[in-house]
Symmetry: C2
Subunit: 152 residues, 2 copies
DNA sequence: ACATAATTGTACAACCATGAACGAAAATCA
DNA sequence: TGATTTTCGTTCATGGTTGTACAATTATGT
C-alpha cells in the first residue's frame, strides 16, 4: 500500500501552487533588479513601506508584519537609518520600544519604489481582469487564515 | 500633479498580490520547519524533486528550472552528495556536463519530503475547490508568461 | 515591595544566495 | 586546422536571513 502512487505533480492543488510559488519568486527577483535604480533592496522597501503605512510602529510589530525575525529588522534598520531614510525614537512611556518614522527623503524614496513595484505588478497581472485578481486574493487570504489556524 | 495620490494598497492588483506574496512566504517557512524531521532544507528538496522528475538533468538546466544561479546549485550539491542522496556522473559525450541522479536513499527521502509538502499545500488550500485552484494556476501562469515576455 | 516572568531590541555565529572571475571543454567559423 | 566564442561547472567575496543567547526594561503574582 503505497500512498505515493500518485506523484505530487498530478495533484491539482500542488501543481497550481507551484505556479504561485514561481510567480512569486519571479516578481521578487524582478523587483530586486528594478530597485537598483533607487539603490535600495527589496527588504528595505518592505520595511519602509510598512513604516509609511504604520507610522511609529515598533521593531517587534514590524518584524511580525513582515514575517521575519527581530534580528533581521535589527540588522537592516541601521543601514537605512545611516542613509537618512528613517528615524528611530525611543518611546517615552516604555523605554524598551523604538518607534520608527520615515524622514522626508525616506518618504520620497518609498513612494518612488512603490511606484516601481506597482508598475511591475500591474503589468504582470494586466492579462487578468479585476474579478480574477480579487478571487486570487480571496483564495490566498483564506489560505493564510487556514495556515494561521493550523498554527503548525 | 502627483501620480501617487492613490496609495498602492488601494490598487486592487497590488493589494491582491500582497496576499499572494504572504501566502507564498508562509508556505515556504512552514515547509522549512516541517522538513527538519527529514534533516533537509527547502532548497535541497527543490533540487531533489527536480532530479526525481528529470533524471540525468545537468546542473545548468537545474539552475534554470529553479530560477537560481549556477553557483547556488554548485555549492548545494556537494552537501547532498556527501549524504548519499544523489550522484553526479560526467556525461561521456560532453565532458563539461555533470548529470544528476538520485540514489535509492535519495529517492526515498524525496518521496517522504514531497508527501510532507503535499500535505501542507492540500491542507492550506482545502478551503478552496478545484475550480478555484485551477483558476489561480491559470492566472499565475499567465503572469509568468507576461513577465517572461517582458524580459525586463 | 520583591522575586519571577515576559517583552524589546541587539550581538554573534552559521548558513544560504548572488554575481563576477576563472579554467576546462566544446562549438563556431574562417 | 586554428583562432575565437560560447557553455558548463567551480571558487570566492559579499551580503541577506535565521536562531540563540543576552542586557535592559516592564509586567505579573504573591
Amino acid at each position: 500500500m503505497n500512498e505515493n502512487q500518485v506523484l505530487p505533480w498530478d495533484n491539482p492543488r500542488f501543481k497550481n501552487w507551484i505556479a504561485v510559488a514561481r510567480a512569486s519568486q519571479l516578481i521578487h527577483q524582478k523587483l530586486g533588479r528594478a530597485l537598483v535604480s533607487l539603490d535600495i533592496k527589496v527588504p528595505h522597501l518592505d520595511i519602509m513601506a510598512n513604516i509609511y503605512r504604520f507610522e511609529g510602529i515598533s521593531q517587534q510589530d514590524l518584524a511580525h508584519k513582515l514575517l521575519v525575525g527581530r534580528s533581521n529588522i535589527s540588522m537592516l534598520l541601521p543601514q537605512i537609518e545611516k542613509r537618512g531614510l528613517i528615524e528611530r525614537r525611543k518611546d517615552e512611556t516604555d523605554k524598551r520600544i523604538l518607534r520608527l518614522y520615515l524622514t522626508d527623503k525616506g518618504r520620497e524614496v518609498t513612494l518612488k519604489a512603490l511606484a516601481i513595484e506597482l508598475e511591475l505588478i500591474e503589468h504582470s497581472l494586466s492579462t487578468s481582469n479585476l474579478d480574477e485578481c480579487n478571487q486570487v486574493g480571496r483564495i490566498m487570504n483564506r489560505m493564510i487564515d487556514q495556515m494561521d489556524a493550523w498554527g503548525k
